[in-house]
């Protein structure tokens, strides 16, 4: 017999709350890494228990037609991260410095926009300056490698909205790479 799907486990946990522990065992590592990439180890370690506690308390609202609980858990995590925006911003800027130091200069690309020392802090600023919903969509796609359908489930959006948010976020970042975007990205 195959192991029960997340939906079956969540369903069972309505009458037998302890069953929800299995959802933690299945997905906590993934969610801890997600929170860690966004807000660092300290914040992530403090949030992972809270995330699953909230999921447990809302388990009645879980859509049983979805086999995996993972997108739903990502959505709860994304909401929790909104309270830690400053930490997230700091971490992103630090990541930009590290990314810049690792980048090998690419002479063929020309001097225009690809000086890594300048480019990555600007990318970080641009991601930071995205509206919350576009930033979340972009990072679920680029960092978590979630397919559109899962992002739609996580953020409770129609899939078309996910596509348009992602394309807006891409367009804003693309401006960085083009000459007209060279002068000013929104700075904060």
């Amino acid at each position: 017999m195959s192991p029960p799907s997340d939906a079956e486990v969540v369903g069972r946990s309505l009458a037998e709350p302890e069953a929800f522990g299995l959802i933690y065992d299945r997905h906590a590592t993934t969610l801890l890494r997600f929170l860690g990439r966004r807000a660092g180890a300290g914040v992530a370690e403090g949030l992972v228990g809270e995330l699953f506690r909230i999921a447990f308390e809302r388990r009645k609202a879980f859509d049983g037609s979805r086999a995996s609980a993972l997108p739903w858990l990502y959505g709860i995590g994304a909401n929790l991260l909104l309270k830690h925006r400053r930490t997230e911003a700091r971490r992103l800027r630090a990541s930009a410095r590290i990314a810049a130091s690792l980048e090998v200069p690419d002479r063929r690309a020309g001097a225009a926009a690809l000086d890594a020392r300048l480019l990555f802090p600007r990318v970080a600023d641009a991601i930071e300056a995205l509206p919350d919903d576009e930033r979340e969509t972009l990072l679920l796609f680029a960092w978590e490698d979630l397919p559109y359908q899962s992002i739609a489930e996580a953020l409770e959006l129609p899939i078309g909205t996910v596509r348009s948010r992602l394309s807006r976020a891409r367009a804003r970042l693309r401006e960085l790479l083009e000459p007209k975007g060279k002068d000013r990205v929104r700075s904060r």
């Binding site: 302890e18 929800f20 801890l32 992972v48 480019l119 990318v123 796609f141 970042l173």
Partner: protein, 179 residues
């Protein structure tokens, strides 16, 4: 370089303490146990009979905000619900099958022999909710003596429910003690 690839290069994994996952699990399991401790068994549970329990449960939730205590549902092999409990505030009401224990739904009896009184925080908001869900109003919201405001509604099978706000607290002979 593509914009998404640029963003990807800013992805950086964090290094966690080995015990981080265990602490998270402990937090979750504590919440699960706490829910268990909230389990209730009031001394008195009125039992209200229905011909169609499934329809009644869905109506009572939509119209009145009663929530089923799912773990206590009794279901037959064919998916027919024999008995369920709903909670509202600190009260619990049993939803039973008509005919069992000699209890008859007003739908069959043609008359209700009792009504149940339920305290709510905002009786007008509750009235609007009941109205929107198609409850038959037996008595429109009105002010009574001593700051009480109330309305009465009939459910799908004609049970009468009285909702009121501002009800006085009752002094008790016994505090907390159970027989």
């Amino acid at each position: 370089m593509k914009p998404v690839d640029l963003a990807k290069k800013l992805r950086r994994d964090a290094a966690f303490e080995a015990a981080a996952l265990d602490r998270g699990k402990a937090e979750l399991m504590a919440a699960i146990r706490q829910e268990g401790e909230r389990r209730i068994r009031p001394t008195i549970v009125p039992q209200v009979p229905y011909a169609n329990i499934g329809a009644a449960l869905s109506f009572l939730e939509r119209a009145f905000g009663f929530r089923e205590l799912l773990s206590s549902r009794l279901e037959g092999a064919n998916g027919v619900i024999h008995h369920a409990n709903v909670e509202f505030g600190d009260g619990v009401i049993g939803i039973g099958t008509q005919g069992a224990h000699g209890a008859i739904s007003p739908q069959s009896a043609g008359v209700a022999s009792q009504y149940i009184s339920v305290a709510v925080a905002d009786v007008d908001a509750h009235y609007q909710r009941a109205l929107a869900a198609g409850a038959r109003i037996a008595d429109e919201p009105h002010d009574e003596s001593a700051g009480v405001r109330a309305y009465e509604a009939l459910d799908l099978e004609g049970h009468r429910w009285r909702f009121l706000q501002g009800a006085r607290e009752m002094p008790r002979y016994e505090r907390r003690g159970r027989p």
